[in-house]
Symmetry: C2
Subunit: 526 residues, 2 copies
């Protein structure tokens, strides 16, 4: 498959007319062909018009057809084969094994949403039959289902060129909900985006769907994304990226004449709490495992463990010594883009020079372009709580150890944290009471709580929550990974006294879709 | 029970220190004792501190205890007896039968939420058991439940002194979710608010709950409400009222360092579409029924039918003639407050003098204070679509008939509408195709679609949606009436590899609460 450097506006491949983007191989700094000229406001408008036109038809596709469409996308992505893997490796500097794994995850994710669509629980069917004899007033026949919000804008992420980009989690969940999708490609991997975009386009055709169900747009600056978010035909958006970028688009979404849900997954430092008995039992092993999680993928994960909070003492010193050794032994790794590498180095330097931390260790320096050096710092709990800067996320493999005087101060630090995607307890049986005392705080602060694991590695399943209180995300009521993500793009509609002929099939009395229903206050036997 | 004119900050009755409010009997313009001095920022701060303190304990109350608490509130409200009915009648000018009905609805609503709490479906328990042997990577044990968002601010409505005020739908659903509640009383009915507030306070004591679970605050201006919404300890808010008031508070909620969900139910004109065959079959009866819905309760309902959209011709003329007669025969009615009555008269006059409508009829003029005169206008579809003013809600019993040339223009008008709480079709069997053609538009525009009913009268049940796209509400993904309202105040949390001893009871493997669970992708047999 030859790359064309064009956007996909519905079925048409369109050459942009604005400032171009071009991928760079971060491992070599070589520029990768082709060039991708950016889209104009008119391009955005055309994609939105097509999406709007497709909406009413697409949102009423049968469960089977919509599920089949998601599976066809997965098949089409797999059919690209090694071309996709090689391009994604070249555009991101990520190892081939990781990209292969991510490709599998992306296709599994689409198939999992297909299963979710078929099961139809997202329709949340509720039926309250008429009670014509009720006193003092009769009850009408009332039935509820969920419907799709409307066309959705998806902002692809830099750090997951497949699983959180063109056919990633946001796209899969929006399509599953019945929403047409317009993706703003991430500028770091346009070739990967084009390949995956064409796979979706092929699936649209094969599934006999209106072309506006999917479009893919490129843009060098923030104009295209902004134009997309403020278009009246866009009814929701999903974003994964930086706090500043997320907040700017969130603000735009809230300032529209009709504000829309804007799901931004932004910023998290993912505190880890090694509790006293765990430190005593396995401080050394834990320190090593910590650095292994921290340096995985050059630390370029939203769930990277950027913060360790523990009570100081010889047990913590053992943990720190092991971590120090592991950091110092850690190899330099290529980061996703020159910009990300620069921001990482700048963030680490600002940290080191803040006067509020002491440096524990630095990893090995690389000699290839765009390589990062892992780093580890420590600070006192008091200093941490007094400084906003020490709570800011530095994207990459750097972490801060916060040393507390006692369990009361540790709890204080926990209460002081901003919202997080994850919070992790490292514990032994003797830590149970301490863990229990921390749990209410962690539940208020994080979307996912782990025991004796590490936060990197996000399972795509029904019970996953990849979300959390602000600023981890802009909306703690949802998740961006896992099947519950579908609810972000739905709203309930109630039908009162509609004749059967007009009711959507999901609400027909005889339950032709075999849906799980709440009827007259009771969960119906299946 | 003697009224004290005091706020309830937790268990304490506190006299305010700011500008006072006092109720007025709108039927006589008589001032009602006592005076209610307004709360200060410090009072708001104290209520928030107590709510925050109560939160962790209250959100972990057992399903049984929390349900019992809601039922006790209902019992306590009933125990007030006629004192409550009389005070509410005096403060609102609403007929006694209506207030008695509303009191019953309020208590039923609390008991319905008790049932919802006990059923526990709102926990949305999902379990993905560990797969230690899975290749290439094992799966951790992952479990999800919903937890309460945090203390909730509730802004009471003017038009439902019981069902949407101190112990109304917002309060019931927030308490059901596990959120402490601070109510900003509506200034039109402080005595009713005090009585109901004390009932909740008594239920807090009887249920052995921390006092901060409930507080009630008065305030003459917007300061108290604003202070409440921007307090960092408030994590969500519910509001029913005007578009300007709702948007101002919504804006404040979004501008916080940590933005919060702000559920405002604001503005809806509730279009009714009498379709051709229905007009032909029963134009006269329909015209009469329309005015009966329009003038019910002086038109002071969010779901008042403020707009009729139909194809012009002799059948519509028959409908209009009957409506005209009914309006002219309609008695003057006391409105809720002098301010509301004045705003209604002003709104109707602005409408009449807009040069864009023709007056069809006015109702009888009253000679008592604060009485409104019903009114009915008509306009051409073209003029309606060209004017923003004609789409604005005038709160009270006035409506506008939009005359369309044909079904294409009718569809155009429907597409032109802003978001609505309801949309109503009046139809006969021969209208089925026309109705089907309109449905996709109505589903995009409204939270509830009715056939051959009238939008006033909102059933409190599982399938109700009292919500809808902006500006009907600030968040179309939810409802403010019915049991699904509980989801407004919840967020999901995922627990990874937690030992059974640390897991919340709802997630224990042996399902001690007999919850409806999604286990490994399958709905579990009960």
């Amino acid at each position: 498959m030859t790359l064309e450097g064009k956007m996909l506006i519905g079925q048409q491949a369109i050459a942009g007319t604005q400032d171009p983007i071009h991928a760079i191989n971060p491992a070599t700094n070589a520029r990768l062909d082709p060039t991708y000229p950016g889209g104009s406001r008119e391009d955005v408008g055309r994609a939105c018009a097509l999406a709007w036109e497709a909406f009413d038809e697409y949102r009423e596709t049968t469960l089977e057809n919509r599920a089949g469409f998601l599976e066809t996308i997965a098949d089409e992505i797999e059919a690209i084969g090694d071309t996709l893997i090689e391009r994604a490796v070249a555009e991101t500097g990520l190892p081939q094994a990781r990209i292969r794994g991510e490709s599998g995850r992306t296709c599994n994710q689409l198939r999992l949403f297909a299963r979710t669509v078929r099961a139809g629980e997202w329709l949340d069917v509720r039926i309250d039959p008429a009670l014509p004899e009720r006193q003092p007033l009769p009850r009408a026949d009332l039935r509820q289902r969920h419907v799709a919000l409307g066309p959705v804008a998806v902002f692809a992420a830099s750090n997951f060129p497949l699983a959180f980009s063109v056919a990633g989690g946001d796209t899969a969940s929006a399509l599953a909900a019945g929403c047409p999708v317009i993706v703003k490609a991430h500028s770091a991997h346009p070739g990967t985006s084009e390949l995956v975009g064409k796979a979706i386009r092929a699936a649209v055709t094969k599934s006999g769907l209106p072309q506006g169900v999917f479009s893919l747009i490129f843009g060098a600056g923030r104009e295209v994304g902004h134009a997309l978010v403020i278009d009246a035909r866009i009814k929701a958006a999903g974003f994964t990226g930086s706090r500043s970028g997320g907040l700017a688009l969130w603000q735009a979404a809230q300032s529209r004449p009709e504000p829309i849900p804007f799901y931004a997954e932004m910023s998290s430092i993912n505190p880890v709490f090694p509790l006293p008995a765990a430190l005593e039992a396995r401080g050394k092993a834990m320190g090593e495992a910590f650095i292994s999680s921290l340096t995985m993928g050059a630390g370029q994960f939203c769930t990277n463990p950027g913060l360790v909070i523990a009570i100081k003492g010889p047990e913590l010193d053992t943990f720190i010594a092991a971590a120090k050794e592991a950091v110092e032994a850690s190899a330099a790794q290529t980061m996703l883009t020159p910009g990300i590498c620069e921001a990482y180095a700048g963030g680490v330097n600002a940290f080191a020079n803040s006067g509020q931390v002491r440096e524990i260790a630095r990893g090995q320096q690389g000699d290839a372009p765009n390589q990062c050096q892992a780093s580890l710092f420590a600070t006192a709990a008091r200093d941490f709580m007094a400084s906003e800067a020490l709570q800011a996320e530095v994207f990459g493999s750097t972490s801060l150890i916060v040393e507390c005087n006692d369990s009361a101060e540790l709890k204080q630090v926990a209460e002081h944290l901003e919202g997080q995607l994850t919070a992790t307890l490292q514990m032994e049986a003797d830590d149970t009471d301490a863990a229990r005392a921390l749990l209410p705080t962690l539940e208020r602060k994080a979307g996912r709580i782990l025991v004796n694991g590490w936060p990197t590695g996000v399972e795509v399943c029904d019970s996953m929550v990849h979300g959390g209180p602000f600023p981890a995300t802009s909306d703690s009521r949802t998740t961006s990974v896992g099947t519950a993500a579908i609810f972000r793009f739905l709203r309930p509609v109630c039908y009162q006294d509609l004749p059967e002929a007009l009711l959507p099939e999901a609400l027909h009395t005889n339950n032709p879709l075999s849906l799980n229903r709440l009827v007259d206050g009771q969960r119906e036997e299946q």
